[in-house]
Amino acid sequence: MSATAAINSADTRAVTNEVLLAVENVTLRFGGVTAINGVSFDIRKGEIRAIIGPNGAGKTSMLNCINGFYHPQEGRITYKGETRQRMRPHVAASQGIARTFQNVALFNGMTTLDNIMTGRTLKMSANIFWQMLRLGPALADEIKHREYCEEIIDFLEIEAIRKTPVGRLPYGLQKRVELARALAMQPDLLLLDEPMAGMNLEEKQDMCRFIIDVNKTFGTTIALIEHDMGVVMDLSDRVVVLEYGRKIADGTPDEVKSDQKVIDAYLGVSH
């Protein structure tokens, strides 16, 4: 089944008009370079929202602003109705924003399972003394979270590599483990930075299927950056297009596809 067919059959998805995250007039500068210039858009609860644009358009910078790695000089970011000024990444995480990275960022010294378990860090509550002894409340806690991680592992079909140190895995699987770690956080908003970069066709199809499944099964809102236009057009409900830090288009895949500015940005235009 192609990704298109999957999305068409996915009419059970809970896409709403409720705005989960709103970015308003955000400007981000590094010294003299303006990475993002007055960009506004919103992400609605339950949708798959794509951010596309040529290299250097400010897509990853935008994700970094949303999850608190960067602090924009101007503009506002409102998440779950709350506008924030400076937010630190671990606070973003505790509010339900999870992400993956463009260049896989896993904990290479640990196994797949341990990597995924770090995603549960914020949910674990037993105190440190019980934890050290692995008794009482800590044991119950560990078992409960381990069970959840096993569900994620089943879901993403990575049972076989559960105990393998992630440094030894091929790239496609590492990307999948990274997605698993993000899912273990039970996020409300999942940011995926080029989830399919460097994958072969088969791996891309798998990843597409997982992204759709995550959105359908868990109702997770997803914002993704991707260069493969076919994938973007198939997966996403709405697309925002950036170029040189500015927003040049925003709308459904069909609207964006036929937008002259977008065509110019991608194909180049003679001046």
Binding site: G68, F69, Q131, M132
Partner: protein, 309 residues
């Protein structure tokens, strides 16, 4: 029997001295595991902890506090000093360097070393201060078995027991707790750790605090043995071969490495010394480390680094 007795005596005193090397090496391993930073300041932290402890004990004794109360208060005070040190290092030295490469942070710890050494001596004085926390006399064991028995320093035994307990506690902390898992995560990748909700500044504070407390324990034992003085910072140099032998990332490695170095140098001194000249003790550890580097660059227990090309 005489032969075996003296061999055992040398071996045991070497092993127990090795435990003390392990203690210093442990501080390095902790910080390395949690931040990927080779902490050049560990020796300075031992000095700071030792000075804070010995000077507060002197002060308290001078003001007529009973012995045990003075010791408790002295340790609490020194612990607070180490917490303060951890706070400042995290806030002003490492905090601004999150997501920078390990070499940058290593350089920063060299800077921190001089500041800590300077401040410690400025605040607490720069002489040699005797410390008497543990008994320094010796047992004679196994008199029935060996002529003359085996001489064992009580201080060394204390050191061994304390180091053993510390290691067990630390190993459990790293392996089983979510904080331990978070520490390992931070060591591997700052950005990824932040993205799953691990507050790096807090983790770094915790790890520098733990390293500071390990430094305090090391200072208490070494201080009793040698007196608290500036030369205690050179202990950090002895920890280097221990780390290379045991592996930079392994808590048990630090212990085994320390034992090998301690026992090895004492045995070499006694049994090789007469043939190739004395003073082996001073360089033996480094030669051993060199040999390990050639055979197993990651150390006996270190993680093997696999690099994709």
């Amino acid at each position: 029997m005489q032969e075996l007795g003296s061999f055992l005596e040398v071996l045991i005193s070497g092993l127990l001295a090795g435990v003390l090397y392990s203690l210093v090496a442990l501080g390095f391993v902790l910080i390395f595991k949690a931040s990927g930073v080779f902490n050049f300041a560990q020796g300075a932290m031992v000095l700071l902890a030792g000075l804070a402890l010995v000077r507060s004990l002197d002060f308290l004794a001078h003001h007529g506090f009973p012995g045990w109360l003075a010791i408790v208060l002295g340790f609490v005070f020194a612990g607070l000093v180490m917490a303060l040190c951890a706070f400042f290092v995290q806030r002003y030295v490492l905090g601004p360097l999150i997501n920078q490469n390990a070499l940058t942070m290593f350089m920063a710890t060299i800077g921190a070393t001089f500041v800590i050494e300077g401040v410690a001596q400025f605040a607490f004085g720069s002489e040699v201060y005797p410390l008497r926390l543990f008994p320094t006399d010796a047992w004679i064991a196994g008199e029935g078995l060996f002529p003359g028995g085996i001489l064992i320093n009580k201080l060394d035994v204390w050191g061994g027991v304390i180091a053993g307990l510390l290691v067990i506690a630390l190993a459990m902390f790293f392996q089983y707790t979510k904080t331990g898992r978070a520490l390992r995560a931070v060591a591997d990748d700052h950005a990824a750790a932040q993205s799953v909700g691990i507050p790096i500044d807090w983790i770094w504070f915790v790890v520098w605090l733990v390293a500071g407390l390990v430094a305090l324990v090391a200072a208490a034992i070494w201080g009793t043995k040698l007196g608290v003085q500036f030369s205690i910072t050179f202990l950090a140099l002895k920890a280097l071969p221990v780390l290379i032998i045991g592996g930079f990332t392994s808590v048990p490695g630090a212990i085994i490495g320390g034992l090998i170095v301690g026992a090895g140098e004492k045995l070499a001194e006694v049994y090789l010394g007469p043939f190739i000249g004395g003073g082996i003790e001073y360089w033996f550890a480094y030669v051993l480390a060199l040999a390990v580097l050639m055979v197993r660059p990651q150390g006996l227990y270190g993680e093997k680094i696999i690099e994709r090309i």
